[in-house]
């Protein structure tokens, strides 16, 4: 816990509390996640804890997780990226169209990466160099990228039957882990998602270049005066976000065996909610990859809970909003208490 809490700025502040780690947001989120897990296990002991159900929750969660990491990175430099869902769709459509045209897999993947990075670069340059508000830039990009994806495909599913089998199987591959009587199939998307959480988390706490993202977000002016290359880092943040979006696009396209212009609609909202629940702030300078992971997990468990308890699954979407408002309210209470 401590290593992860250490890269959140509020943990670096001297709080004077004996159990700073215990009152940290990540710890609270772990507790909430465990609580939801226990409640669901008690209420539906037959269905919820089964590996089939958990596997479905976790592998679906992985896509949201990668997008949420992208959002967290951008939020740290006091940005926002509303275009994540659209760029995901555009990258997916690009790769699918190339695969359908019998391009080799590496070429298609690289083209998808190129498209995603181009969108990220445009976002980054307009925000960092020209100085337009991230909200507007990425709002425009959201519209443009989704529009191009729709124009390219005229809204149709793009299948690629001639693509090599390993590519279409890869996204649904499951690692077989023996558990005595049989095997647990661990989806590869989940493994990639968790690996990226750990790697990014470590990089953010160890690598100076990434650590300075926090300084940029905290105060652009102060960061610039202390010799940090603010513009370069801002552009880098949007590029990094685009990279994660591309990861998601590859996994999603491979797992569903189609490219589709309507992938990732509303993904930016879920990602933003998860990141804010996990400790990021629109005011910049805060954000925690591990917290974001816990936020995504919590939203996924609550969503699954609605299905498990035979409630109306339509309430699932409302739950994201309510969780977001409650998290923000708890935060306000905590800062109010701290201020006193």
């Amino acid at each position: 816990m401590m290593t992860h809490a250490a890269n959140s700025p509020d943990a670096t502040k001297p709080t004077g509390r004996r159990f700073a780690a215990l009152s940290s947001r990540q710890f609270l989120l772990v507790l909430i996640n465990v609580a939801i897990f226990l409640v669901l296990t008690i209420l539906r002991p037959d269905a919820f804890p089964s590996w089939t159900n958990l596997k479905a929750v976790l592998s679906l969660m992985s896509y949201d997780l990668l997008i949420a990491i992208a959002m967290t990175i951008v939020l740290i430099v006091r940005g926002i990226d509303l275009s994540v869902g659209s760029v995901l769709a555009l990258a997916s459509v690009t790769m699918a169209l190339l695969l359908r045209a019998d391009a080799s897999v590496p070429v298609a993947l690289l083209a998808g990466l190129g498209v995603a990075l181009l969108c990220g670069l445009t976002n980054g340059l307009l925000v960092g160099v020209v100085g337009i508000l991230p909200f507007l830039v990425t709002l425009g990009m959201m519209s443009v990228a989704r529009g191009i994806a729709t124009v390219l495909t005229t809204g149709q599913y793009i299948s690629f039957p001639n693509a090599p089998a390993w590519f279409t199987l890869f996204g649904r591959y499951e690692l077989q882990i023996p558990n005595g009587s049989g095997f647990y199939g661990v989806p590869v998307t989940l493994i990639i998602g968790l690996t990226l959480v750990v790697v990014t988390s470590l990089l953010f706490s160890r690598w100076t270049a990434l650590r300075s993202f926090f300084f940029v977000g905290e105060s652009t002016e102060a960061a610039r005066l202390s010799g940090i290359k603010v513009t370069r880092l801002t552009v880098a943040a949007y590029l990094l976000a685009a990279l994660f979006v591309w990861f998601t696009a590859v996994l999603l396209t491979s797992a569903n065996k189609i490219g589709y212009a309507n992938y990732g609609i509303g993904a930016e909202m879920r990602a933003l909610a998860a990141a804010v629940v996990g400790g990021a702030s629109l005011a910049g300078g805060a954000g925690n990859i591990f917290g974001t992971f816990l936020g995504v997990l919590m939203l996924a468990l609550i969503g699954n809970g609605f299905v498990m308890l035979n409630g109306n699954p339509n309430w699932q979407q409302a739950s994201v909003g309510i969780v977001l408002l409650v998290a923000v309210g708890v935060d306000a209470l905590r800062t109010y208490r701290d201020r006193r």
Binding site: L136, T150, A273, L325
Partner: protein, 340 residues
């Protein structure tokens, strides 16, 4: 010399407005010359009715954006008003006036809640209104189970389909609301406070503006306008559906931004917003009449948003530089006088 900053300020607005009007007219007449069916009464009616609900929301959005906030919950408030008014009339059997009054009060309450939470929690309005957006959209979906509600009386349908002096009722509403709100924003003491708050909240608070009260009122106004639009939309479509108005918040924001308001707050006019709304309506219509793939609309409106923002950024940068030169000149002049 003293007048110059004022001139510069007006310069930005004039260049932007004239540019917007010219581009709008060029699009309109260009497509008229090519296709010859744009400037017909029937088409102009379609053109206006396509964007009128977003336009009504954009009016409220202008106020919110001037105070430096944002209200992305309007789209879900819009759909909620549709569903509520439909359910009250069709399923609860209330008469039209009672149903409309209850609906408008409910939407006003949602707006007041937005404002209250923003003031209370002190987080970015985008987070709070996103929480309301997701919650309400989930509620809309859950209480209708994804079906539409229909079966209105002819009197109610008049609100959306009827005409006053040959003009559709929603357009009349939009026009009257724009004129009243425009005059109020330009001249009323209360609404001038919005500019102070947007220019600098702390300064406004210190100089005696009741920032919290103003904010709550503004968010209430924004939600109520969205509610009015929702009631009329239910009448126009003859049915209420939870997916109506999806992404309308982004169109409203785009209209305000294209109309020259600064998303950071402190500037913006109703006139500019109306021009922005007309512009978006004309561009959308151009795609429809020219039978070019309407999928291109997203691409172009996103580009237009970016270009409008780039333009205003460019002009304000130039003005800032001119102001700097002016200040420098005065300093030089002063030092000259001291030397002699």
């Amino acid at each position: 010399m003293k007048v110059l900053p004022r001139q510069l300020f007006q310069n930005v607005i004039v260049v932007q407005y004239v540019g917007l009007v010219v581009v709008t007219l060029l699009t309109l007449f260009g497509f008229q010359a090519t296709f010859g069916n744009v400037l017909t009464g029937a088409n102009l009616e379609v053109l206006a009715m396509n964007m009128v609900f977003e336009g009504i929301m954009a009016l409220g959005m202008t106020f919110v954006i001037i105070t430096g906030g944002i209200d992305i919950s309007v789209a879900s408030v819009f759909a909620f008003a549709e569903i509520l008014v439909a359910k009250l009339m069709v399923q609860a059997g209330l008469d039209m006036v009672t149903a409309i009054v209850i609906t408008l009060v409910a939407t006003a309450a949602i707006g007041a809640l937005n404002g209250l939470l923003i003031v209370l929690f002190r987080v970015h309005p985008m987070i709070i209104t996103m929480g309301t957006l997701l919650t309400l959209r989930g509620i809309n979906l859950a209480i209708t189970d994804g079906h539409s509600v229909s079966g209105f009386s002819d009197v109610f349908l008049f609100l959306g389909q009827g005409k006053i002096l040959g003009v559709n009722v929603p357009i009349v509403f939009f026009g009257i609301a724009a004129i009243i709100l425009g005059i109020l924003l330009g001249h009323h003491r209360f609404f001038r406070q919005l500019y102070f708050i947007g220019g600098g909240e702390r300064a406004a608070r210190l100089s005696g503006v009741d920032v919290n009260r103003v904010k709550i009122i503004i968010y209430t106004l924004s939600a109520t306008l969205a509610g009015c639009a929702g009631v009329m939309a239910a009448a126009k479509y003859g049915a209420a559906h939870w997916a109506h108005g999806n992404l309308a918040e982004l169109k409203a924001i785009a209209a305000v931004a294209i109309g020259g308001a600064n998303i950071n707050g402190g500037s913006g006019t109703i006139g500019g917003t109306v021009l922005g709304v007309i512009f978006l309506a004309v561009v959308h219509n151009a795609f429809v009449t020219s039978a070019v793939n309407t999928f291109w609309y997203d691409v172009v409106s996103g580009m237009m948003l970016l270009i409008a923002v780039l333009l205003s950024r460019f002009i304000s940068l130039r003005n800032a530089r001119a102001l700097l030169v002016l200040k420098q000149g005065k300093m030089d002049q002063l030092s000259e006088t001291y030397k002699s």
